[in-house]
Amino acid sequence: MKNINWFHYAAPQTFYGLAGKAWPWFAVLATAFMVAGLWIGFAVAPTDFQQGEGYRIIFVHVPASWMSMVIYLAMAFWSVLGLTFNTRLSGMMTRALAPTGALFAFLSLWTGALWGKPMWGAWWVWDARLTSELILFFLYLGYIALTSAIDDTRRSDRAGALIAIVGAINVPIIYFSVKWWNTLHQGASVSLTQAPSMAALMLWGMLLVALAFWAYSIALVLYRVRTLILQRDSHATWVHELEEVTR
């Protein structure tokens, strides 16, 4: 395991096999972590003394928000790799990541609204975190719209990579500007940071669900990238020699 030749797996043909072997394992991991995390979250973790049972949505909400940000970073990472090394696989990875990232951003907004209504009495407040999560969702949509509007795969990958990098540079700027904008307009009506320190058990539940989301994303992205590889290499001989294609 010491010397893995990473460039060997940069070829779609070899990565296709690796991804095929890996994704079921990540799917199993995701299920196991999810069951454990939700079991702790719903059955074991104590009721919060301030928020009652309603706080339990934290076990989905916080990991989904984390994941939406991690996936954008991963997209930027693959974009930089793709533009510097000019590898085809990087573009496919970025494209495979985008829908999952958008899903998590949406999930985070949705669960946030569901949580906000009983706790703050409003579905939506113009808090810095909420606003920047919404903008992150828009950035995902922009990436998906741009890449799907360009038919030429090479051009759409490179254009998508550029907008993903520009977006990644902008995310911190947007976050801080919205934060200052918010503090200028009104005192922070909502602060998640000053919540009482969390019980260790709640933290465990959240971490397990976060791990489950990681494994789920990896499994899904690997599966999706396999489909993309098949689509794009459908003219290649090696695809036609595959068992699942000839069958």
């Binding site: 903008i135 828009f138 950035l139 949509l141 922009g142 719209a145 741009l146 509007a149 360009i150 090479r154 051009r155 490179r158 254009a159 550029l162 907008i163 520009v166 977006g167 902008n170 700027i173 947007i174 500007s177 919205v178 200052w180 904008w181 200028l184």
Partner: protein, 223 residues
């Protein structure tokens, strides 16, 4: 020599825009009409109007600069001028910065000049008008610079216009926040100095990096 090329592209683009006045004027009138619609929607209460004026004028400026953005590279792309620019010994990014400057002169400066007049309709004080104009003067170039990247990426793409807004408008948010915030800070007695500094801090890196990103995007489109 490259300074000569810069000036040549700048003059050419400004001249072309002035020869086709209707396109420039459309974006400007759009700005005026949007600004005039808001009081009709909100109601003529001057206290409310004074509060929303900076935001309304800034959002109007964002949208109207979006209209002009679509034409930034389109004509040159279609008739092959852009390819010649990419092939020329002068760096493409340098020529692109001339185009972006020309675009700002044609689409941004009229908005800056009109804003105080429209601000009067919203009953803004002289101080507020000065702040608003200065903020627009610092902020509108950023709109042209960042928007240019989007315009280059969506060159010749299906449904380019709507796509461009979806790509670029989220990236305009910091400019909007500090541009409109400057007037409010000034009105509340805090002074707009900090906002101007931040707008400048956005303008300078954008002026340096955006032509490079635009050039990269154009090369992708020209491949």
């Amino acid at each position: 020599m490259s300074g000569g090329a810069f000036m040549a592209v700048l003059r050419r683009d400004v001249l072309l825009a002035l020869r086709r006045k209707s396109e420039v004027l459309t974006a400007v009138f759009f700005f005026v009409v949007v600004a005039a619609l808001f009081p009709l929607g909100i109601g003529p209460e001057l206290n409310t109007l004074r509060l929303v004026a900076p935001g309304v004028l800034w959002v109007g400026a964002l949208l109207s600069s979006m209209l002009a953005l679509q034409r930034l590279f389109e004509a040159d792309y279609r008739d092959g001028t852009l390819e010649q620019m990419a092939l020329s010994p002068t760096p493409l990014a340098w020529l692109v910065s001339a185009k972006l400057l020309a675009h700002w002169l044609v689409s941004g400066v009229p908005l800056v000049l009109l804003a105080p007049v429209l601000g009067l309709q919203f009953d803004l004080s002289t101080d507020a008008l000065t702040t608003l104009t200065l903020a627009l003067l610092l902020g509108t170039p950023v709109l042209s610079l960042v928007g240019g990247i989007g315009a280059a990426l969506t060159l010749g793409v299906r449904g380019g216009g709507v796509l461009l807004s979806l790509l670029v408008l989220p990236l305009f948010i910091p400019v909007l926040v500090f541009g409109a915030g400057a007037v409010e800070a000034q009105a509340s007695g805090l002074g707009a100095q900090a906002h101007f500094s931040i707008l400048m801090a956005m303008l300078l890196p954008a002026a340096f990096f955006s032509p490079l990103a635009c050039a990269a995007a154009l090369r992708i489109a020209l491949e």
